[in-house]
Amino acid sequence: MAPLDLVEIKDLTYFYPQTSRPALEDINLSVSAGQFVLVVGGSGSGKTSLLRAVAGLIPAFYGGTVAGRVYLQGEDIRNIPRRRLVQQVGIVFQDPESQLVMNTLEGELAFGLENLGLDPALTRRRIVETAAALNLGPYLSRPVAQLSGGLKQKAILGSVLAMQPRVLLLDEPTSQLDPMAGEEILAAIRRLNEENGITVILVEQRLERCFHLADRVVIMDRGRIVCDAARPGEAARWAVRTASPFVPPLARLFAGEGWREVPLTVKEGLRLLNRELSRAGDKLPPGEGPLAKKSALAGGTPLVKVKDLWFTYPNGQEALRGIDLTVKAGDFTIIMGENAAGKTTLLKVLRGLLKPGRGLVRVLGRDIARTPVEELAGEIGYLSQNPDDHFFLPTVEEELNYTRKKLGLPVPFDAGEMLAQLGLAGVAGKNPRDLSQGERQRVALAVVMAASPRVLLLDEPTRGLDYQAKRDLGELLRRLREQGQAIVVVTHDVEFAAEYGEEIVLLSAGRVVARGEKHEVLTGGVFYSPQVSRLFQDTPYRVVTLEEGRQILRRLRQGRDSKLRREEIL
């Protein structure tokens, strides 16, 4: 062990109780003081178990069988009394709602300190300092129920930080938050690492937002560390070489095209692009005009028609103000916007869960205001933010049959083909709650699709999904769309919207502020545009998908050879 190694894991293998497959297998990892380590991998790859092992929760809280050792500053953590351990290692989990225990923010910050039996005067001081460090001062006396998701997660982060740990473990702390709140949390973590020297081990799925923050990237697969890269760029190249999905979009784009340098941010990408341009004599290759042509939006039958829709909640909040929208068969519409823009409200009105205040909503020719929710169950599928809201039966198959039984459709039916199409072959007999997050999301979709609906409404379907699961979901929705289903997705995920959506509706304060084909809406923006669009924003190309970016990079390299004039393009 190097003298500065704070955490050292040696030959760690771990089985959860009553499992035959190890959650962690032969893990060896040393983390030095002050390092920022990013751990990435798919669902079930062992990331969370790794954090639990470092926090001493494995095996103390979970039980199971463990081999190997975890050392903290050379001391086996199993020999460290818990009271001392929690002052050295703090852990923040995914969902703030499942961590907060007190009713006010101040009470939450005090919780850990009270558990340590600290003197009230010291507790007070620590609360004040933590609140100042995380800008939580103005909210101290607020009831937790009134805080936004971001503030709730900050409250948990604060509660852990108040105990002054040297190692901070974060298990997808932004997965349940919108991008703005997620950015804020990541910025706070970065500050803590840079200014306070806290060692950070972060598990995260939004790689485009945190890859560049890390000093080191560890990639896990099936309980093993498959790549331990000293620099994020190295990890990106490894991921592209091995076709691993765990790499941010820009790095994937450049590394995939064989560039030696791999950018992690738009700024770095622009530097590389400009350098290539100057090598090519400031000339971009000729193209056939902008790569992205205005793709003709599907011209199917209108299934959803919304005209001058207004909706006001009982507390007087006007959530929707004069919305007009048409969704046709074969459309893939993405609804985006900041928090409280009215996205979920709109989806609920389309499904009939909320009745319009004013205006007209017709779904499949029926006035939604006069149609009971249950009557449209066979026609409109609705997937809520939490897939677990669907499951109560012991097997996937029973869940599918239950949907059909409720609609008077014949049961049992052969779900094999549908499950295979959803990448769920072999799960029919399993309990849906035992599956990974991505699989649960798809099983929930299968439950909805068992009714063969013509319109699919999905609320934040990518929340908490890893890159691979997101890609699988995107491809699946694309296939469904091609089969003629109308798909409406509410999401904060710009990269997902750009890659798979067709039409984008941007909401703000209950109004449509932009609407159109994705190349129109997602290019030239500051916030609602994917990384690849921002990279090419100074070119005449309207690029939103990685494939389009790839084509331009290829042309650029070709253009270096062909000596064509820059004016044709810029």
Partner: protein, 306 residues
């Protein structure tokens, strides 16, 4: 939901020491149980009503009022029909099997009103506690009496609204799956509830495991806890407690002297003029926090002094 989630408002009541708030509610409840005179119950009701209105709590008080008034009508009705005591018969009803011919008396009617008034005071005091008392502060004050129990109560108040939210969400999802809730027969409705409650239970169990893990990781149970209190005593608390002590002692004196006692049966006792003044003073003493609140809101000098 909002009835459960305590909300911070711009008023003096939410800025009192939790013990002050707790004692105010406790005094109201104890006096309501000790008094049998409807006039004294009315005095308590007026006081708590004025205080709740001063705190801007009409919106939250209204459902409590509706509930209590409905109960009051039921109590009065039942007591009038089934009580049968009293000598001033207002009318005699038609013959019913088992019950015979019910005699509705003035005494039984007014006895019901007296009981209903007591219920009004108690529910209004509960409303005050729910919306204006810092419950987490109260829990902290009580924690020396039983830390684990108090923490369980605190967590229950935190997770109950979450459970309500989850219930609504799961209900919506199941309705979208075709599970009939509206326009269904009672049997169908009960059947529809099975999956909803099942999911709710599973979600609650999963959440409880996650909460336990987070608590363990923050050192809960690693040794003796030391509860951190941060509540401050201010002149406003002393002023209110002084008025409260005066009101409480006066109430006890009224009970001891028999002013707050009232005999309904067999005939209504007459009103003694001497018992009116203590009831009035009682109301004024209990309304004092509302007066202080008015001053706190409108008089900067007072605000800075109390």
């Amino acid at each position: 939901m909002q009835a459960i989630v305590q909300r911070e408002r711009e008023n003096l009541f939410t800025r009192l020491h939790p013990l002050t708030g707790l004692l105010y509610v406790a005094s109201l409840a104890v006096l309501a149980l000790l008094f049998s005179h409807p006039l004294y119950q009315l005095a308590l009701f007026l006081a708590v009503g004025v205080v709740l209105l001063a705190a801007g709590g009409w919106q939250v008080w209204r459902p409590y009022l509706y509930f209590s008034l409905t109960m009051l009508i039921i109590i009065v009705g039942f007591n009038a029909v089934l009580g049968g005591w009293g000598e001033t018969v207002l009318f005699v009803g038609p013959a019913f099997p088992i019950l015979g011919r019910p005699r509705v008396t003035l005494e039984a009617l007014l006895y019901g009103v007296g009981m209903g008034l007591r219920l009004l005071v108690l529910t209004s005091a509960f409303c005050y506690y729910n919306h204006l008392v810092n419950q987490e502060g109260v829990m902290r004050l009580l924690s020396p009496l039983g830390g684990r129990f108090v923490l369980v109560i605190t967590m229950a108040t935190r997770f109950l609204p979450l459970l309500v939210q989850e219930f609504n969400r799961i209900m919506a999802v199941q309705r979208c799956r075709g599970v009939k809730v509206t326009g269904a027969s009672l049997r169908e409705k009960v059947g529809s509830m099975v999956p909803v409650l099942n999911i709710l239970l599973l979600a609650a169990l999963e959440r409880s495991l996650q909460v336990a893990e987070s608590m363990q990781a923050r050192g809960y149970g690693s040794g003796p806890r030391r509860v951190y209190t941060r509540e401050l005593w201010r002149p406003r608390d002393y002023l209110i407690l002084a008025a409260l002590a005066a009101a409480f002692l006066l109430g006890l004196a009224a009970v001891a002297a028999g002013w707050a006692r009232y005999t309904y049966y067999p005939r209504l006792a007459g009103l003694q003029p001497g018992s009116l003044l203590p009831a009035l003073i009682l109301t004024l003493a209990l309304v004092q926090p509302a007066v202080l609140n008015w001053g706190w809101l409108h008089w900067t000098w007072l605000k800075s002094r109390i």
